[in-house]
């Protein structure tokens, strides 16, 4: 076969490889570049975050507005410290908002649900949400239920 034809076919082959890579990156893994730039950090302390993972979603009224960026232990109070990255578009979250760890469906993953308060001042970069509700641990609930029965 002519060298020219081979080069064209090989070029098309490599292009197909690049397109496949792009499809896998964008369509399959939902990879978006520079997503971290336009978010701000909000912190919250929870008594118990069992089941919550990094990259879990943060939602208001079921709409995703950010994700969990970091989960660590606060060594003073021995509570869980969660850093959330909230989209900058969602800037007007009142300072008395509450954060609760909720479960998606019966067997789904944990996520953080924010409920907006009434205060006129807003959460800024590095602010803390003070009113929080921990994740529900099934064993604890069963334990309490059994205690009431007997």
């Amino acid at each position: 076969m002519q060298m020219r034809t081979i080069e064209i076919v090989v070029g098309a082959f490599m292009l197909a490889g690049l397109i496949s890579l792009a499809v896998l990156a964008i369509r399959v893994s939902g990879f978006n570049v520079g997503a971290e730039a336009n978010t701000y950090n909000v912190f919250a302390k929870f008594e118990n975050v069992s089941g919550l993972v990094v990259r879990a979603k943060v939602s208001i009224a079921g709409v995703i507005v950010g994700q969990v960026a970091e989960i660590s232990l606060d060594q003073k109070s021995f509570t869980a410290l969660v850093r959330m990255e909230i989209d900058s578009d969602v800037a007007e979250l009142s300072i008395d908002s509450t954060a609760a760890i909720l479960t998606e469906g019966l067997l789904g993953g944990k996520f953080i649900g924010l409920t907006i308060g009434a205060d006129e001042s807003y959460l800024k970069e590095g602010a803390y949400i003070t009113d929080t509700q921990s994740s529900i641990v099934l064993e604890d609930m069963i334990g309490k239920f059994l205690m009431k029965q007997f």
């Binding site: 080069e7 076919v9 090989v10 082959f13 490889g17 499809v23 369509r27 399959v28 990879f31």
Partner: protein, 258 residues
Amino acid sequence: MLANIRHLGQYGIDLLTALGRAGSIWWQAIWRRPRLANAHLVFRQIYQLGVLSVVITVLSGFSIGAVLALQGYNQLVNYGSESALGLGVALVLVMEIGPVVSGLLFAGRAGSAVTAEIGLMKATEQLSSMEMIGVDPLQRIVAPRLWAGFISMPILALMFSVVGIWGSSLIGVDWLGVYEGAFWSTMQDGVDFHSHVLKGIIKSVVFGLVVTWIAVYQGYEAEPSSEGISRATTRTVVHSSVAVLVLDFFLTLVMFNF
């Protein structure tokens, strides 16, 4: 008794010699004065090894994706979570089946051809004639094939995964009626570029390297007779298939934090 021990020793020495020779061929072919003037040889080999393997790769990818969708749907629908079909199929294809099956196909389709070609060149003394006129066969024959395998294999694996996912969406969404939005969004939610797609690509690069290496070595060291070439070709397919599967286990062990 002594004879048995001697056989064992002989086997060990043979094995180590083979490994050493294979290593030295690979090292010399890759690093000995890579010239831009030889780029057209690499293109020709990418055509032979890569482009001509596209059809078999795409066909297998489509069938495997479709089968995964059918079987996965049958199990998931019992738990009412058939929307997770996209996630399951995509993860399985991108991390494991894509690189491994396209590696096996590559070994059968391209590896055997390389061995047979180089083996026949050796049997007809083309390699020694090349040396005679001052052309280095490692540079002229072996190196372009190694580079071509190294470049083609990840492209083939990526195509395999993409076509597989397309096939599964065709079966899952269009035929079995999984909700399209959920199919793609659970997939995008669960598949991560760095921790899943990139690791699959690393696997396929390693497989491409190993398969072409085995193929070239078997051809280069083939006994220069028709029987010898036939044995070398068989060995290429067997060794590289086993190598792909065993390496896949160890790569998974290392890369996915066990």
